[in-house]
């Protein structure tokens, strides 16, 4: 019997546990949810005890499903940026404050001003935004000083989970950089940043490579989980870096495009070259930097992707959800590149990369009486794709030069959308068929930590793609034309949108009315 590895991905709302064999085949899966509490508007907290309970459930499911395979090692992936506060004897003092928490906006600004926006990015790779560990820590100092004074340790979410499994306190460069306290170039805690947040380095964990063994399953947790005590446990990394690994994206020439509610564009990088304008994030990857081993990745976020299709389906066209996306994309296929002269700006909730504009709004431009539902759907898909292309443009400004795209998320299931991405980006697209890539990434790190094999090789041999979609030269030329227009449209439309946003924000929201009527077919 070959060896098996356990990959754990502590997500935002649930944990995923995968038992994976030596060839990357999933032999068992388990999942369990945990709640997020919102004690005040904009706050988002989770109880690490809930994480642990969910872990027990998910691991038991996964191991049970796999036919109680022997687990050679365990690896971790987890939600980034959050923090749990531990006191004497590693007892939790406060719920974990997760990335979605908005309480620390003022603190994030203050720290940014203190360090200087550009210098902060030069050191850490990213702008400091609310919900990041460094900002939450300052909030704790200011608002709950009694807790802060008793705090002995601060840990990122997956590191807290690993502590419970092994008793070992450690983190990896990826989560360290996501905390925004790391000198991401040298992969060490930054004295400048620690100084700025008035935090002694003693409360921070030591930094270990993601693919290194950080500890062993303890006797007590082993018996709770049904794992052999002494099983090696890898450090692991944040879920974005782990997802890249699970998707087999381990070189600087492959762009990862994840089209879900929002979209993320990520590309590994062999040099540390952050965007000083703060439009993108540069974090440490799960790989140690070296030749052909990109130690960082750059990431841009498009706020509206699948959300625009959902909005169109539920709010505008009001289609019954079952089969609606297939129906909508079949309409869109009837239209052509450029949607017969209809352009959509997808900024329904504002935009991050590259515009960093919370008050941008969506728009349909170029409307004529001939435009059909198919043109509308196509324009929305194209608009989202252009917005993703815009995010890549920001990555390109700091050196990204991808030669191919790996696409994941709901959007990747549509052949039309894959073709559109290939045509708009002018690059071949490979649809990722590996599911749960962050948990797979964790299993890759688990295997690499106990085998004499690089995570790069394992990632390459485990990732699964469809047959690939080549761009059409003629459509690529057409889309270059339309994309140029899309870029041109942002600024003037934003001027009007900002006025509209100011106007509608000054008005009270109406109560929602029920909407029973749905269009058929």
């Amino acid at each position: 019997m070959s060896d098996h590895y356990l990959g754990l991905d502590l997500g935002t709302s649930s944990i995923k546990a995968l038992v994976v064999d030596d060839d990357g085949q999933v032999k068992g899966t388990g999942t369990a949810e945990y709640p997020t509490s919102r004690p005040q508007p904009g706050w988002a907290e989770q109880d690490p005890d809930d994480w642990w309970r969910a872990t027990l459930e998910a691991v038991q499911q996964a191991v049970g499903w796999s036919g109680s395979a022997a687990i050679a090692s365990v690896g971790f992936s987890g939600q980034m940026h959050g923090v749990s506060f531990l006191g004497e004897n590693d007892r939790p003092l406060y719920p974990a404050v997760i990335w979605a928490d908005q309480r620390s906006e003022r603190q994030a600004q203050a720290v940014t001003e203190k360090v200087g926006a550009e210098r902060l990015i030069e050191i850490s790779g990213s702008p400091l935004v609310t919900g990041f560990l460094a900002a939450t820590v300052v909030w704790m100092q200011e608002q709950k000083s009694s807790i802060w004074w008793r705090t002995k340790r601060i840990l990122s979410p997956k590191d807290e989970l690993r502590r419970r499994l092994t008793g070992v306190i450690a983190t990896d460069p990826g989560d360290g950089s996501a905390a925004l306290l790391l000198d991401a170039r040298w992969r060490n805690w930054s004295p400048v940043l620690l100084d700025a947040v008035e935090t002694p380095s003693i409360v921070l964990p030591s930094i270990r490579p993601s693919a290194a063994v950080a500890g062993e399953v303890s006797v007590q947790s082993g018996s709770e989980l049904g794992l052999a005590s002494g099983t090696p446990v890898a450090t692991g990394t944040g879920d974005a870096a782990s997802g890249l690994l699970g998707a087999g994206i381990v070189d600087a020439e492959t762009l990862f495009l994840s089209l879900s509610t929002g979209a993320q564009v990520m590309v590994p990088s062999e040099v540390f070259q952050p965007d000083l304008a703060g439009r993108t994030h540069t974090f440490c990857s799960a790989l140690e930097p070296g030749p052909d081993s990109p130690g960082w990745y750059q990431m841009g976020a498009t706020l509206v992707a699948g959300m625009a299709m959902q909005w169109l389906r539920d709010e505008v066209l009001r289609l019954p959800p079952a089969g609606a996306f297939e129906l909508m994309t079949s309409w869109a296929a009837q239209s052509g590149p450029g949607a017969n002269g209809l352009l959509f700006l997808p900024y329904l909730v504002g935009e991050r990369t590259p515009h960093m504009d919370a008050r941008a709004r969506g728009a349909f431009l170029g409307l004529t009486p001939q435009h059909t539902s198919g043109d509308i759907v196509r324009a929305v898909m194209e608009g989202v794709t252009f917005a993703c292309r815009d995010a890549l443009a920001a990555l390109e400004s700091t050196g990204a030069e991808p030669k191919r795209i790996v696409m994941a998320g709901g959007g990747a299931r549509s052949p039309l959308w894959r073709q559109m991405v290939a045509d708009v980006f002018g690059l071949p697209v490979f649809g990722l068929t590996t599911a749960d890539q962050a948990a797979i990434g964790a299993a890759i790190l688990a295997k690499a930590s106990v085998r004499n094999e690089s995570p790069i090789d394992i990632a390459r041999s485990w990732a699964r793609y469809d047959g690939g979609t080549e761009p059409s030269t003629s459509r690529t030329v057409m889309y270059q034309d339309i994309y140029a227009m899309f870029k041109e449209a942002y600024e003037p439309v934003a001027r009007v949108s900002h006025r509209l946003a100011a106007w509608s924000e000054a008005r009270p929201r109406p109560a929602l009315t029920p909407r029973p009527i749905r269009k058929q077919g």
Partner: protein, 520 residues
């Protein structure tokens, strides 16, 4: 009781309606206007087909009338600018180029070079465009010299139908003012323009006031139509000017808003606008059918069309969302549509913007903006756009600011739209429920010519149609005033360059697709 027949030859349909003297309809019949489209931007009618269709509608209407011999009068309203050349026997020598056909651009350019657009404006009050009749005559002269040589008379469509009914040809001031050949303030054919263009004055019929008696229905026409030979035929006029008469909009200080597939604002004037800027802003002017006055007119080309487009989009092409349902949904959204705004330039811009390459836009979209808010945004956009067309007119010294608006047409049945319009303009809207106002205006002119009414005022006073008033809501008016001033007026200038770029890109793509189809 005496009956009056009004005929309306429109762009999409031809209607004959028989009225009582109080303006209530007794019978009516309508047929689609038989139109030929040989290539994009071209369209023509065959004179005989047009006449045959008119005949069918007259017979159709008369079939519902108890005693056709009671019909005392007939007059015809029609689209303007389009006309036909007749030979010495009164038979057509050419087809009728549709009013909106733009094949005549070279003729229009030539007139601009030869006579000059400003000079032509000074004389005719019209801003030079290819559609005006003189360009059409020049086109026939150049492209159909044989037919032109045989021609003895030029008649506009309404005049041609009246001619077929009574044997007399005449053009009224309202139609004459759309030919580019009439001196607007002096209401005479302009001999200088005709001489400079090389058109023989003898081709043109006498210019008369609408409601001038031309003759009685001929025996031949009586046989063809079933009309009595006692029925008097009078000069009708330009369709929307006849509609204004039916609504009683004839005096400075009044304003008419007609809402159909296209929408228009119509403002009577005592004297024509003298500033050529009005033409560059896309307004146009002309003579009223009667009473000696003038009007200035601004069209909104895709008003009802915007609503129909949205209905198709929210339903399906074959089964558009019901009109009532659309309005019901729009009514659920708050005033201001959550910040969503619609620019209704689906085909082109509207006055004061002269821009045939403008396009529609739906902006300010957020995840909260749903079906209801989009529907309301479209109605609000139509109201803002209409006000945007009215407002610049108030800068002209000839325009007397109105205090209320009269409204006619199918769009007035949309109560929500009317109340939005009242709040956007800050003016009461008096909605006139006349049946087929254009045909009614023609019937009134016929009645005046036949002596059924003693005067125009008597004719208007005789009308018994219903009227209801929609008033502004002060709270809504304040909000709309804010949005209109601070946002709506910014939209077109910001969006226009993008619309042009999109149109250009679409043309490039279409060209490329022709060379190399990019099927997926």
């Amino acid at each position: 009781m005496t009956y009056l027949l009004g005929i309306d030859v429109g762009t999409t349909s031809i209607k004959s309606v028989v009225y009582r003297p109080d303006g209530s309809a007794v019978a009516s019949s309508a047929r689609p206007t038989p139109t030929h489209v040989p290539q994009p931007r071209w369209a023509y009618y065959r004179p005989r087909e047009l006449w045959q269709t008119v005949l069918e509608t007259i017979r159709g209407a008369l079939a519902e009338v108890d005693d056709p011999s009671r019909i005392a009068s007939v007059a015809v309203a029609s689209v303007a600018e389009a006309g036909v050349l007749l030979d010495e026997n009164g038979d057509p020598t050419t087809d009728i180029i549709a009013w909106y056909d733009t094949r005549t651009k070279p003729q229009s350019d030539w007139l601009g070079e030869t006579i000059g657009a400003d000079v032509l404006f000074e004389r005719s009050g019209l801003s030079l465009q290819p559609i005006f009749s003189l360009n059409k005559i020049l086109w026939h002269m150049e492209h159909e010299p044989g037919a032109f040589a045989r021609a003895r008379q030029w008649l506009l469509i309404a005049d041609y139908i009246a001619y077929r009914l009574c044997g007399e040809g005449a053009t009224d001031y309202s139609l004459g003012s759309r030919t580019l050949m009439m001196h607007l303030s002096e209401k005479r054919w302009d001999d200088r323009t005709l001489a400079e263009a090389g058109v023989d004055r003898s081709l043109l019929p006498p210019l008369v006031q609408g409601g001038t008696r031309l003759g009685t229905v001929t025996g031949k026409a009586s046989l063809e139509t079933g009309l009595p030979t006692t029925a008097q035929v009078s000069a009708g006029g330009h369709d929307h000017v006849c509609g204004a008469l039916a609504a009683g909009v004839m005096r400075p200080g009044q304003i008419l808003n007609s809402l159909g597939t296209a929408e228009a604002v119509f403002v009577p004037l005592a004297t024509p606008l003298m500033d050529p800027r009005a033409g560059r802003q896309g307004y146009t002017q002309g003579a009223l059918v009667t009473g000696g006055g003038y009007y200035v007119f601004g069209g909104q080309y895709t008003s009802g069309a915007s609503v129909d487009w949205l209905r198709r989009l929210l339903g399906t092409d074959d089964d558009p969302l019901a009109y009532d349902l659309l309005v019901e949904r729009a009514a659920r959204a708050p005033v201001g549509s959550l910040g969503a705004m619609f620019l209704p330039h689906l085909r082109m811009a509207n006055p004061p913007y002269e821009d045939s390459r403008s396009r529609g836009a739906l902006i300010g979209l957020t995840a909260d903006v749903g079906n209801d808010a989009v529907a309301r945004a479209v109605l609000e956009g139509l109201a803002f756009e209409s006000f945007n067309t009215i407002e610049p007119l108030l800068d002209y010294p000839q325009v007397v600011p109105p205090t209320s608006v009269k409204a006619i047409g199918g769009g007035t049945r949309n109560d929500l739209l009317m109340s939005i319009k009242a709040s956007v303009t800050g003016m009461d809207h008096h909605i006139i429920d006349a049946e087929e106002a254009t045909a009614l205006g023609a019937a009134m002119l016929g009645g005046i010519g036949a002596g059924v009414y003693g005067s125009v005022d008597e004719a208007v006073a005789a009308m018994s149609y219903g009227q209801r008033t929609v008033s502004p809501n002060p709270g809504d008016a304040e909000i709309y005033g804010d949005i209109y001033r601070n946002v709506y007026r910014q939209i077109y200038p910001v969006i226009a360059p993008l619309s042009h770029a999109i149109g250009d890109a679409q043309a490039r793509i279409a060209q490329r697709m022709d060379i190399e189809p990019a099927a997926e």
